[in-house]
Symmetry: C2
Subunit: 118 residues, 2 copies
């Protein structure tokens, strides 16, 4: 999977929040994907559980702003961003891993209470 | 492991490059640690192999500058930074995972050729 294709998925991920379109989330994740957000919490397993999770975040009005370049390596991409919600900003790093068909099969989000601000 | 302790390890990691002190690397990694830099390449396994790897980078004059906040989650910390070497800058995201004694037992570095600049 080329870096440009991985970066395009990151851009579609940002677009899903911008346009409040969970259909994009359904399209970029594999059926059997696992989302751990934040790392250390109970993972969301499978596309339906994942879409329900994102409906919550997108429904709450969250937007994403990239705060650095996407780093592509192996079957993965890592990227730093800020989640912006009414009255709250949160610094996050996500790591996507892709399967052979170019779908995300693992997402890990790194953030903690220290990363929240106004 | 508290977030402040994880962040202190990140700061010591930066210091290891600043002061060209591989002794710090030997102190913050576990004996059986695995370093995959970049992700997708053959990992360096065990403290001796890891120190040899870092001696190369540190000996080449590499310095690290954090480019965002460290994100602590679960047993891990992820942080964005730039590697600065003569004539080259490289955007990287590292993920450290810690064992129960507070040593790094897994390091994954995310970067690709697209992340290099002058």
């Amino acid at each position: 999977m080329d870096s440009k294709d991985k970066i395009a998925v990151v851009e579609r991920y940002v677009e899903a929040f911008d346009t409040a379109d969970v259909g994009i989330i359904r399209d970029i994740y594999a059926d059997n994907a696992v989302v751990e957000d934040p790392v250390g919490s109970e993972p969301h397993r499978g596309l339906d559980a994942i879409c329900t999770f994102y409906e919550g975040a997108i429904g709450a009005g969250a937007k994403l702003v990239l705060t650095g370049t996407a780093r592509c390596a192996g079957n993965a991409v890592a990227f730093p961003f800020q989640v912006i919600m009414p009255g709250m900003k949160l610094d996050v790093i996500d790591v996507f891993e892709f399967d052979d068909s170019g779908k995300i099969n693992s997402m890990k989000a790194y953030w903690g209470p220290e990363n929240a601000g106004e």
